[in-house]
């Protein structure tokens, strides 16, 4: 994996914004009010993401981790606190913060190639440039041979690869991933974790990755944000200073996973976490 060396290089260009952060979420509070319940999904949560790092958010169902990602992505605009990206307040969705969703949010009427091309067409990129970008992305996720396939013809893992290629094609400044591998079988999940480490390393991507799988968080994250629920708060942020690529079988990964799990269990009465 060539990506490791590149990732460890110092960032050449100064990150925009005076803070040195790409994404800054400060004092975010989010309530969900319905007729019967008033839930404090996020209670004064602050999180900063630096350029070229992968930050994983892990926590139990209902801890607000997906809500936090939706706020960062600009999908959810109703919250208290400030959310800035590259020093500017986040106002709605933008291709700078492309999202990979848990469900395969692909367009069934378009084949794989046209799905990956979608965001480029919106921007009016020329046909020749589109073709070369799409070819490159499809090669990166090993789907070159399937470029004419329709979505229903793909496996779950392939669908998530298409989503990743489609998001990367628009050259986002940061990639938002909302439990993208949660619905996949264990083997496919391991494969995609490896691929994502490779791809992210190669292009120096900044990633915010939400998961409820502790080991996945440790494998992928440069930092792991542990959240607790009711109300949703950040309990601890753990640095994972391990080399890459990391595999599920690494002892160090297991040790860090145990640490994260202990943190989660202390915070909760639900001692059931996937490993």
């Amino acid at each position: 994996m060539t990506g490791i060396a590149e990732r460890n290089e110092p960032v050449a260009t100064a990150p925009s914004g005076a803070t040195g952060h790409l994404l800054a979420l400060t004092d975010i509070t989010k309530r969900f009010q319905t007729a019967r319940a008033d839930t404090l999904a996020l209670d004064h949560v602050s999180l900063e993401v630096r350029p070229r790092e992968i930050v994983c958010i892990v926590g139990p169902s209902g801890c607000g981790k997906s809500t936090l990602l939706n706020i960062a992505a600009g999908i959810d605009a109703h919250f208290d606190g400030t959310a800035t990206f590259e020093g500017e307040p986040i106002k709605g969705m933008a291709r700078e913060r492309a999202v990979v969703f848990q469900e395969p949010a692909l367009f069934p009427w378009l084949n794989v190639r046209a799905n990956v091309e979608f965001g480029l067409k919106l921007r009016g990129v020329s046909k020749a440039d589109r073709n070369s970008i799409v070819d490159q992305q499809l090669e990166m996720v090993n789907l070159t041979k399937f470029d004419r396939a329709y979505i229903h013809e793909l496996s779950g893992g392939m669908k998530q690869r298409v989503q990743l290629a489609r998001a990367l094609a628009v050259e986002p400044h940061m990639l938002m991933m909302d439990e993208p591998f949660a619905a996949l079988d264990a083997q496919t999940r391991d494969d995609l974790q490896m691929e994502l480490q490779g791809v992210a390393g190669r292009i120096g991507a900044t990633v915010l990755f939400v998961t409820h799988n502790v080991r996945e968080a440790v494998i992928l994250g440069d930092r792991v944000v542990v959240m607790s629920k009711s109300p949703g708060r950040i309990r601890r942020i753990i640095d994972i200073p391990l080399g890459r690529p990391r595999t599920p079988d690494d002892h160090d990964v297991a040790d860090f996973a145990a640490m994260v799990r202990a943190e989660l269990q202390e915070s909760s009465n639900e001692p059931r976490y996937a490993i």
Partner: protein
């Protein structure tokens, strides 16, 4: 459209179907020749065939097909435009759905030939009246399916488009419009069949030209073979449109979505 070379399997299928029709026509011929009923009431297949040939040769059937399809085309295109507009309106405005949506559902339950008396009073015995009946037959089906099609699109797809940089308009143009197609195809097919039935009824009742009118001419002439011949033509035109237009659209949907619409 692609055609694959006929395999052994599809060859047998064609043979089975051909054999079935040979038996049906032979049975028809036998019953007609048993003279249980007078040939004025129950014609033999050869007599129907001769009548069909004659009416094709003298141009009556082709002219009638032309007139009928032209009415269908004009009425259907109008109802597509009106139906789409109503469907989009009802899907995007709660207020519109509560008011106009209710009217659309009500009118949908009305057999559209019942618009004929009103159409005659408004437009007289003109093409406008018959096109109005066709329009009322299909516009509501199209409106209802357009609304259902839009509302059935997973919100996640529009959100995905947004995160790829789509504006609201782009999301509508590139996600909502194509995403509604499977449901639309079904609604348009239903709308077509409603319009087709009401057009035949309308032509039978009053207007000149068209297949329904030709059917009436056959009755006036007491020419049972001609009546049979025209009915067969009506079946063929209906099936041809279904296969050529809607069959193709359904295959298009199935190829992409992976299920029959």
């Amino acid at each position: 459209m692609r055609f694959s070379a006929p395999s052994r399997e599809s060859g047998y299928k064609l043979l089975r179907i051909a054999a079935f029709y040979v038996i049906v026509i032979a049975g028809w011929w036998a019953i007609a020749n048993a003279e249980i009923w007078s040939p004025y009431l129950f014609p033999a297949p050869d007599s129907v065939w001769r009548s069909m040939r004659a009416n094709f040769d003298n141009g009556q059937i082709p002219a009638a097909i032309g007139a009928t399809l032209q009415r269908m085309a004009v009425g259907y295109v109008l109802s597509f435009i009106i139906g789409m507009a109503l469907g989009i309106l009802n899907a995007s405005s709660k207020w519109a759905n509560e008011t106009i949506g209710g009217i659309v559902l009500g009118v949908q339950s009305l057999p559209s030939i019942t618009w004929l008396p009103l159409a005659v009073l408004w437009f007289g015995l003109t093409e406008k009246a018959i096109i109005f009946v066709v329009l009322m037959g299909s516009a509501c089906s199209i409106a209802i399916s357009a609304q259902a099609g839009i509302q059935g699109i997973p919100p996640l797809l529009q959100r995905a488009a947004g995160t790829l940089g789509a504006s609201r308009w782009q999301a509508y143009l590139y996600v909502v419009l194509p995403g509604m197609i499977p449901v639309m195809v079904q609604g348009m097919k239903q709308g077509w069949s409603f319009a087709w039935r009401s057009l035949m009824a309308g032509e039978l009742l009053f207007v000149s030209a068209g297949l329904g009118h030709l059917l009436n001419v056959g009755r006036d002439l007491n020419n049972i073979s001609m009546v049979f011949a025209v009915m067969i033509v009506i079946v063929f035109v209906g099936v041809a449109v279904d296969r050529l237009i809607f069959g193709r659209a359904e295959r298009w949907v199935k190829e992409r979505w992976g299920y029959a619409a």
